[in-house]
Amino acid sequence: MYRHHLRRRPARLTVAAAVVVVGLGLAACGPETTTSDETSHILQAPGADQPEGEITIWDRSGDLFEVFEGVIDDFNATYPGITVNHIAVDIDAKLHNTLITGTDVPDGVFLDDAKIGGFADYLWDLSEVLAPYTADIAPQKLDVNTVDGGIFGVPFDLDPGLLFYNAAALDAAGVDATSIETYDDLLDAARAYKAAVPGSGPIHLEQSAFLGQLQLEMYASQLGTSIADAHGELRLESPEFERILTFLDTVREEELGTRAEYLTPTDLAELENGNQVFYPWAIWFSFAPQQLLTEAAGDWRAMELPAWDAGGPRSGAMGGSSFVLPREGENADLAWLFYEFLMFDEAGYTAVWGPNDVYPTGLNTSIPSYQPAADPGTPLFDPVDALGGQDLWVVATEAGAQIPGGAPTPSWWAGAVDYLGNDIQRMLDGDLTPAEVLSQATQSIQTNLVDRQ
């Protein structure tokens, strides 16, 4: 009664395959093979005094979304004619497709600095509108937003690397963290702590490939270098990177580290119980003592990073975001006004970093990249109770001012995590030496990313 269709399938498959092949021969559809455009992609500010229109702004959901939401009223006090349609979007998943299809393109988007280079073809070059401010913007932020001479993002935050440490635990063990000046001092302090607290792993070793690579860039930024130079040439195989990885490998080899993913429950447990007492990380780690730690909340403090060489820079940048304006957005020029207000107008940046509804004592997980706003003498956010009332503003702005420039981010940075990020983890597994990490990652990134641009 039932027909055994499976028996007859091969013949039909062959026929169908032939149809497809014939179709290919007739191919007439495909991507346009020639479209060169000479039109300018440099954004101009709107001419009107009281510009009107609606702008669509994409932000990541979460606390920052709420903060920006609160600034819109202040913005409208200055520009009553501009309606801000502010939406929370899964930007990583959506932006790429939206730009390719050119449909419902937002006027402004919040984007990780590491991802900006990859989208430059779709974005307005902001070098003209930003010209009045560039001299006052942290050089590191201009570097990461610059592609082939154009600037493709309005720099948002500066994220100086700091050395967070558990002052109470270190004191109890008789280790004086404040005297640490170099990474060698840090290793010595960790050895001393481990001697006092056997079984501890004083220094955090990041286990996420992405964040591990981001932290590597922090250390490198401190030495004024990065994965690739301004021309996109790899420069991993250098004494600077060898030095950083050797430091990490020493922590691993002497068992001075706690290996965990950033602020996962495992990581938090080790922070709470005093096993993990040094956390060299960007300022946004301050979120942990404030929101996540319970037992060890008031015990943590922040200081500048150790220097690689005595007297060298005491900070490097780690992460950070900017605002980009897609060319296909209808009112990109109005969106520029929004970001100009947010970042360069005192009312704007005070509303972002100062006390607000979301953060009654201010937003203290980053500092402004606009230097007039990041003055150690005029704090925007208050001292942090969870850091024992420490004035984080002073520590962070002084550290931020030391971050060297000259560390651009290549457009393929995020893709490099599959190679460099993974190879660092293999080193922390004990399977690769620092030199092997650098040569392998260089070769893979060259073949799979640089050569395929």
Binding site: L6, V20, R60, G62, A93, N97, G102, T103, D104, G319
Partner: protein, 285 residues
């Protein structure tokens, strides 16, 4: 029919099946219960459940952060439209394949098999650019039309319809019925169990569809339920900066529960039709 005769063998079978049953139900039960626990307890005590601490906090936080109502509306619209197209046109095409001889039949049925074998991910980019050409990005038709008249549905309904005796069709023809009339008034009533199975299967496929909606529905107002779930998940698996693990986990379990409850209820109500439907339509040895 095999009979399980000896008592020891019967007990053994039950132990084996019970272990499987627990394994198959545990993750769902765990998620439904955990979503009702305080967020911190989900992480600190994953194996315990204390009825005195039951809370709706995770659901409240999730409903605040995720426009899940809009997700249900979008999923509902796509489900009804795409489901109707597949439920009508797939059996119709299957009828042609099962009961007619016509030139090109093998080639066209080959096309059905090719479609069956094409991974969705392969066509994502060209389809997306095509939607751009059509001006269909962020529209319901883009969510509905590609992948409608599902190939597996045709393939399977062809099996079901093949079993309908030709004599029934010929009798209807003698009575003066048109070709479509034969399908509508003779075939459809006979294959009703199979159609019921198909309905549940199609509902599930559309409800669970994920890869294509994530790409083509980039705006929140078009996002389906599954797209919203994955957006929420980014807070855990993607960029962790500033995300509180316990809270996000709680919201995620609440959202997952909300997403799976409707299908679970639908399935439990219709399980007899579904299982019998699949039994009616599968390949026989």
């Amino acid at each position: 029919m095999t009979d399980i005769t000896t008592p020891s063998r019967r007990i053994g079978s039950h132990v084996f099946l019970m272990v499987l049953l627990v394994a198959f139900l545990a993750p769902v039960v765990w998620a439904l219960l955990s979503a009702l626990k305080p967020a911190n307890d989900i992480i600190r005590a994953p194996l315990t459940f204390d009825p005195s601490t039951v809370t709706l906090d995770n659901y409240i936080a999730m409903f605040r952060d995720v426009p899940i109502g809009q997700g249900f509306v979008n999923t509902g619209i796509v489900l009804v439209a795409k489901g109707a197209i597949t439920m009508f046109f797939a059996p119709l095409a299957a009828f042609a394949f099962a009961k007619y001889r016509f030139v090109g039949k093998n080639v066209i049925f080959g096309a059905v098999l090719v479609t069956l074998m094409l991974p969705t991910i392969v066509l994502i980019i060209p389809l997306l650019l095509q939607m751009k050409e059509f001006g269909w990005v962020n529209t319901y038709q883009a969510l509905i039309l590609p992948g409608s008249v599902d190939a597996f549905a045709i393939f399977w309904m062809r099996q079901v319809i093949s079993a309908v005796p030709d004599e029934l069709l010929d009798a209807a023809r003698v009575d003066g019925s048109g070709e479509f009339g034969i399908f509508w008034r003779v075939v459809v009533p006979v294959i009703r169990p199979g159609l019921a199975g198909l309905a549940v299967l199609t509902t599930m496929n559309i409800y669970n569809d994920f890869v294509w909606p994530v790409v083509v529905a980039s705006s929140d107002r078009m996002a389906t339920l599954q797209v919203m779930l994955s957006t929420l998940a980014q807070n855990i698996t993607g960029n962790r900066i500033g995300a509180d693990y316990a809270t996000v986990t709680g919201e995620l379990l609440a959202a997952s529960s909300v997403a799976l409850i409707p299908l679970l209820v639908l399935f439990i109500l219709l399980q007899r039709h579904f299982i019998n439907g699949i039994l009616a339509g599968s390949v026989k040895g």
